[in-house]
């Protein structure tokens, strides 16, 4: 008999084929031309627009929306790509409700911002669907740059450097390029293999040699890269995960949320991905939401997200929390895991309620148990396998200015570098700005 949401344990195929399709197609479908025209008409073309200030890549949003209004989405896309070559992905995954759309004056006026993210997607999709790459390379400079990590920061940096005529070698530890765009973002945010299409489109500028399955500290050394290239940009992301340090963490079906998310992204068939009947997700960030929502979308009966602090401290936005709730995810706050219970496989998680004290978070004696046959840990990622000689700031690579590390000729950006939010769009900005800095230093 086929599995259903009631089947105990961690099993695949809980849903009908059609449900998988519906659950994992675009969360927000693209605007058609009419919808885009109506949405664009709402933009006031503000002076020194707050949306633009709020955008980490400073896209000229009023200008690109005006270009959509006047029937030139191609020009709009160019305006976007000038600032953010991954404008297509950012249009899909940016937490716009915390960035441009939060700052939109119509959010202040009416509580309904201009749909900037969806308009951006309309423009970028128009150009990318037509197979147009609007940039060409400058004359070769004879300089070579190693970019380590083909995620958003690395891709943005590589593209800008290639555009200036430098030869770029782009390394990535994984089999496919894209970094978190490929492995770390919820499937329904980037449906239809968009991440790979975007990388292919970006690489079509030429001048970028991609070497996957190549990691620093494994096949590569920073020393050798510095010797072989005129500059090095490190955008290795946060490959490690924080441990829970809780009793029972090694029981089976207790896993890192990032592995579940990437497994789902790489799964050929969603119906082949197993999920528990009672899923518990520990954490309060976007990764926790993505794991929780997707567990539900795979057919789990009960999914509960548990975060140790108050709701206002959750790094997942209100919009994300609402989205999780709308999919049936229960969110419990101010509770921390004290024990994972199970004989072989997990059966429950015991939590203690918490309260904030001057000395930090304190556990109370009040506890409760949640039934669980699958547990996802989503309590943050960390830098892994850092090359010697780099100065750290906190737990990340210390940088000054546009991503300069303490080592001469070595820049860093994206999640592995200190400063800025761990967002795709921030990584793009850092990669782009580092490229500008590298270029001016190489050409000085």
């Amino acid at each position: 008999m086929a599995n259903s949401h009631l089947t105990p344990g961690v099993v695949a195929g809980r849903l009908k084929p059609r449900d998988y399709h519906d659950n994992f197609s675009d969360k927000e479908p693209p605007l058609d031309a009419h919808e885009a025209a109506v949405a664009a008409d709402r933009c006031y073309f503000c002076h020194d627009a707050p949306c633009m200030t709020a955008c980490p890549t400073s896209i000229d949003i009023p200008l690109f929306i005006r270009q959509i209004q006047t029937g030139t989405p191609q020009a709009a896309a160019h305006t976007i790509f000038d600032q953010n070559i991954l404008g297509g992905m950012c249009a899909r995954v940016c937490p716009t409700e915390q960035l441009c759309e939060e700052a939109c004056v119509r959010e202040i006026a009416e509580g309904k911002p201009v749909e900037i993210g969806r308009l951006q997607r309309f423009a970028t999709d128009t150009v990318m669907a037509a197979g147009i790459h609007p940039y060409t390379r400058a004359a070769p400079t004879g300089k070579s740059v190693a970019v380590v990590g083909a995620g958003p920061a690395g891709l943005a940096c590589a593209h800008r450097l290639a555009m200036y005529g430098h030869d770029v070698t782009l390394f990535d530890a994984n089999e496919k390029p894209g970094g978190l765009n490929e492995y770390g973002i919820a499937t329904y945010k980037t449906a239809g293999d968009f991440a790979q299409q975007e990388v292919d489109w970006l690489m079509s500028i030429g001048g970028i040699t991609l070497k996957t399955g190549t990691a620093i500290g494994r096949e590569l050394s920073l020393q050798a890269l510095r010797a072989d290239h005129d500059a090095v940009f490190l955008a290795v992301g946060l490959a490690g995960v924080n441990a829970l340090r809780t009793e029972g963490e090694d029981i089976s079906h207790v896993q890192d949320a990032v592995d579940f998310i990437s497994g789902l992204r790489q799964a050929g068939e969603f119906s082949a991905v197993p999920v528990g009947r009672d899923v518990v997700v520990i954490g309060g960030g976007m990764t926790a939401v993505d794991a929780a929502v997707q567990s539900k979308l795979l057919g789990a009966e009960h999914v509960t997200m548990v975060y140790r602090r108050g709701r206002d401290r959750m790094s997942a936005s209100e919009h994300e929390q609402d989205h999780a709730a709308s999919k049936g995810v229960r969110i419990i706050t101010e509770a921390a895991p004290v024990r994972i219970i199970g004989d072989g496989a997990v059966t429950a998680v015991e939590f203690a309620y918490t309260h904030e004290t001057d000395d930090g978070l304190s556990l109370s004696d009040e506890t409760f148990r949640l039934k669980a046959d699958q547990v996802f840990k989503a309590i943050g990622q960390t830098l892994d396998g850092l090359p010697d000689g780099l100065t750290l700031s906190g737990r990340k690579i210390a940088v000054t200015g546009a991503g300069r590390t303490n080592l001469d000729g070595v820049w860093a950006g994206g999640d592995c570098a200190a400063g800025g939010d761990d967002l795709t769009v921030t990584a793009v900005a850092e990669g782009r700005d580092a490229a500008e800095d590298i270029h001016s230093q190489l050409m000085a």
Partner: protein, 433 residues
Amino acid sequence: MADLSSNFVGIKSPNPFWLASAPPTDKEYNVRRAFDAGWGGVVWKTLGEDPHVVNVNGPRYGAIWGADRRLLGLNNIELITDRPLEVNLREIKAVKRDYPDRAMIVSLMVPCEEQAWKRILPLVEETGADGIELNFGCPHGMSERGMGAAVGQVPEYIEMVARWCKANTRMPVIVKLTPNITDVRYPARAAKAGGADAVSLINTISSITSVNLDSMSPEPSIDGKGSHGGYCGPAVKPIALNMVAEIARDPETAGLPISGIGGVTTWRDAAEFLALGAGNVQVCTAVMTYGFKIVEEMKSGLSQWMDEKGYSSVAEVTGRAVPNVTDWQYLNLNYVAKAEINQDDCIQCGRCYAACEDTSHQAIAMSEDRVFSVIDEECVACNLCVNVCPVEGCITMVPMATGQTDPRTGKVVSDTYANWTTHPNNPAATAAE
């Protein structure tokens, strides 16, 4: 409850909202629906002599739009009725018989010969219609044949035809004026001189709404070519209001009844036409955009406003604003205002700043945290900030009180009236006695 009933040159209607001579009044089916919807009267689409004219078999309308594709201006290259005279007359008679309380005006356009008018007038009279409107306005097509605007642009012709009509019918004669002239007072005076009972204005404005940038044809395009059309809709309202006011305040035509036409879309537009001297209004583009039902909003809105203001009849509203329409030279130069931004209403879009800083008097300051404030030392009260602000009422022009010092000029605001005619910079100034 305000009385909306209207008596325009003896023609009675339950409200002052008539449908203008145009496609909505082209035939019995539409007019019955209009009356059922509550319209006070119609001006039947212009009749001509047989054989009837023909229309193009391609697009007749072009348009311009505002945000969210709101129709702001419409132009047309449609001619007068393209149905036989006898059919129209029969339908007019039938409708008037069934709706005796509604105004039925018949628009006419025949060649500039007295015999032609003598032939058609008795036929119209026989339908029981309440009046006629002489179409001296259409700028397209018919004007090429010496009719429509071709007549309306020559005051002598207007006077002559009006006189023929007055001499050959008992029905009230309304002369519809074209705006495609330099000074609308001349044709209005001619109509009055010819004995017309009233004028109606404006007819449509010669226009090309757009050009197809692929085919290089003006729109609407007929097989790759375009011809200028007649422009109407909300975009023409300011032009129409001015022309109505010009006639209303011209001593030579003062008191001549006016039927106001041109972009009337809401009750408010209608009230404005009435205030500037119109006795009633005619509507076309608004119903062509939204259907006949809008008359309900027009009636309820006008009625509510009249109640609020204490006006008991439409006639009481007519001309209320006319005494306040004056020449520029008589405007009070001692009146001083300053822009004021209501910070509670401000949504911080900064359009006022961009407009003032780039194109006006650099009189708006912008702080680091996007607070926009008026610099009184620079503000000339031009009103541009008010006009570009997306939030109605957020920015206002506040008059300065007498005795205050205008920080821009350093002069104390005076309560005396002083205009250009006595200003020292005016070479022709007449010294005050």
